[in-house]
Amino acid sequence: MTTLTDPPQESFRLSMLLNDTRYRSYTFQFIALILIIAFFSWLINNAINNPTLQSNGVGFGFLWTSAGYDINQQPIPFNSQDTHLRASVVGVMNTLIVAFLGCITATILGVIAGVLRLSNNWIVARLMSIYVEAFRNVPVLIWILIIFSIMTVSLPGPRAFRGDDPQSSMLFDAIAFTNRGVYVPKPLYEAGSLAVFITFILSIAAIFFYRRYATKLLYDTGRLLPVFWPSIAMFFVPTLLVFFVLGRPIGLEYPELRGFNFQGGIQVRGSLIALWLALAIYTGAFIAENVRAGIQAISKGQTEAAASLGLRPNRIMNLVILPQALRVIIPPLISQYLNLTKNSSLAIAVGYMDVTGTLGGITLNQTGRALECILLLMLFYLTISLAISGVMNVYNNSVKLKER
């Protein structure tokens, strides 16, 4: 362990392990390692000697046995004869669905509220402050329960839609708001619908290229092409044209009250809506604060400089402030996404079948494999978290101010 700089006559003595700063860190690390290993072997030893684990064994074989229960929201087909593994996958997909919807809605809400909180309109700024404070200071579980109660108690049941003179009626005869969820029309694809899709995608690409061309023209020649209206026209006209020319290949299946429930259409379940809204509004309040902090981090001189160039307030926000503020906003924004995903495990409170509800709930319960189920559950969340943080680090490095 000696290096060339050591005077050879000063041979190694045992007390140097404690007193010499060169070696002391090795001593500490060695002790820490021993302690940690001892602690874990104690834990594992206890687990090995645990009578319950000894008699039941530890293994993941139960994942391939039949689950025996049903799940209401199935992104992939599932019935009670399928395996626990498939049930867990359904749960994972449901978690991802609610997390994805929640993140998008929370971002929209948060950006609007954050910008409006800095508005010079007194009443709007106050209202946004109330929103942010009310949601930041009350536990998300209480909000989930409140919104779920609003969903179930305040909206009418399907029975209210029945009869000649129903108490409730469908919006535009197409959308039904019930306490079992919202029923919306489902698109039906017939022959020719592919052509409509291709046209749609092509027109989006065309818009993209037109805008790039317009920008390039502006920079090269200073000629300003109209952008907004042509984009709108390109968005709608070709698709609609193909749609009608081909004789309306995409139809709509309207929800209809038959039997106990609405049939047909797409059902967005009440539990999903409650969880989605609660998570989105709650996280939106946090994002609003991040957005506000990001905007305020941009020095006032930037706003004044933009104003002195003659930009209008919304253009100042769009072209000068927000692009700079984004660098400050994005890292906390991503950690809010992470929080939202983790908070979605509270789905259990409203009976939404996410992965905590299937793998960590019914499967755990019916098989009694607590250790294995919770281990898998933690691994899933850990994977998501690490993946999102990985993306965040890549982004952070790409937008970092390049200081030289």
């Binding site: 645990n50 319950t52 930041r136 998300v140 259990i348 960590g360 969340y381």
Partner: protein, 430 residues
């Protein structure tokens, strides 16, 4: 004002004209309204929409609150009294407040947690407000033991023995710390453990010396449980978090490795899975028969959870310090623990205060998750016994509103305090 003067000139104004008042649109309320509410078309639309929203909310809420029934024994009686009118059934709060606040704590002992609650403010005062005399910190150090004795009851000897163990540890530490911090620290820990081990023989289970009636931890519930969990876990997780943050910044690879693994693991999983671990898995990893209280297991898990988050906040504070501060400590010849204690941490902690308070508020809110593992905290009480009872089946808004209000008051109070503290500690000159 003589006649001659007046006759020689047709008219001379001798005093200045009073300045005319500004136009009505540029003054007072109107100006304020014009500038703040109707400065542009967009703003006007927003204002009108906001006013409509506020009006709608008030028409919903006001009659509900004003017509509230405070005196009834069941929801049916409430409905009879309201007779179709809109109104809240707040009688549930009046009848069940003790369950909501104290859980199943024995009713004749409510003074104990109340006293502990009041003492908590006295104990935190010298920590929170730095202009109070420093001697009061002794009271703060004594508080955990007094509070434990008050809330859980039992013989006073138990907390006294634990306290004396700490004192013994501290005495040994202060003897040895002159030689080396590490030696003092290890010596202190060993001394404390030896003392506790020895006192285990003296303090027998049925010691009745100055004994309060013991209360089972599963009888502790309601908002009190949230408060206890929040306060205990945060206090314990602060030193743990500091240690983890230092470990993560450390130059020793093994220490750093384990700190990083621990922090990233805890931050990567939802609290609810950790609570499941406390509830159903932890028992497998402990010696058979050593099953200790659920509340203690939950405290351990929430503490670990909070310490990982606090570690990240403090790491931010450490990273924000200029390199020069570390180098200054080295050049003064201070060793690692001295430079940390005297130079780095005081500054880093100051920078981290807003972050720590954020974690504290988040943690306090997260204590409601224990209701998912069938502990009767405030939310658990509402979801379990109260809503399940025949009398109050169907009273949602009053109960959830009450729970939300309690949490709002506490969390808002904490965040306001932290903003005040930030202003107090601001030493840079702008």
């Amino acid at each position: 004002m003589s006649d001659t003067h007046a006759s020689s000139v047709a008219f001379v104004r001798e005093t200045a004209i009073e300045p005319a008042p500004p136009p009505a649109t540029e003054t007072g309320l109107i100006k304020w309204v014009r500038e703040n509410l109707f400065s542009s078309t967009m703003n006007s639309i927003l204002t009108v929409l906001s006013i409509l929203a506020v009006y709608y909310l008030l028409t919903l809420l006001l009659p509900w609150i004003m017509n509230g029934v405070w005196d009834a024994s069941s929801i049916r009686e409430c409905r009879e009294k309201l007779d179709g009118a809109t109104g809240g059934c707040f009688a549930v709060l009046a009848e069940r407040w003790h369950q909501l606040v104290f859980g199943r704590y024995p009713q004749d002992s409510y003074w104990r947690p109340m006293l502990a609650f009041v003492l908590m403010f006295a104990a935190f005062a010298p920590v929170l407000f730095s202009n109070l005399p420093r001697k009061l910190l002794i009271g703060t150090a004594l508080f955990p033991f007094v509070a434990y004795w008050l809330v859980w009851g039992g013989s006073v000897l138990v907390p006294v023995a634990v306290l004396l163990g700490f004192v013994a540890g501290y005495l040994v530490y202060s003897r040895l710390v002159d030689q080396s911090f590490a030696m003092g620290f290890v010596g202190g820990v060993v001394a404390a453990i030896l003392f506790w081990w020895a006192s285990g023989f003296v303090v027998t289970e049925d010691a009745s010396f100055m004994s309060l009636p013991a209360v089972e931890s599963r009888d502790i519930g309601g908002f009190m449980l949230n408060l206890i969990l929040g306060v205990v876990c945060l206090s314990v997780s602060l030193p743990l978090g500091i240690a983890l943050a230092l470990g993560r910044q450390s130059s020793m690879p093994i220490i750093k490795f384990f700190s990083v693994i621990f922090i990233e693991f805890i931050r990567g999983v939802p609290l609810i899975t950790l609570l499941f671990v406390a509830n159903v898995v932890l028992a497998y990893f402990l010696p058979p028969g050593s099953n200790f209280d659920l509340i203690l297991r939950v405290m351990i898990m929430i503490t670990l959870f909070a310490s990982a988050y606090i570690a990240e906040v403090i790491r931010g504070g450490l990273a924000a310090l200029p390199r020069g501060q570390y180098e200054a400590g080295d050049s003064l010849g201070l060793d690692y623990s001295q430079s940390m204690r005297l130079i780095i941490l005081p500054q880093a902690l100051k920078i981290s205060i807003p972050g720590i308070v954020n974690v504290a508020v988040g943690l306090f809110k997260d204590t409601t998750l224990v209701s998912v593992i069938s502990m009767f905290d405030l939310v658990g009480m509402v979801r379990g016994p109260i809503l399940a009872s025949t009398d109050w089946n169907g009273v949602y808004w009053e109960l959830f509103g009450f729970a939300a209000l309690l949490f709002f008051v506490f969390c808002y109070g904490i965040s306001q305090y932290s903003q005040w503290l930030e202003r107090q500690l601001q030493t840079d000159h702008r």
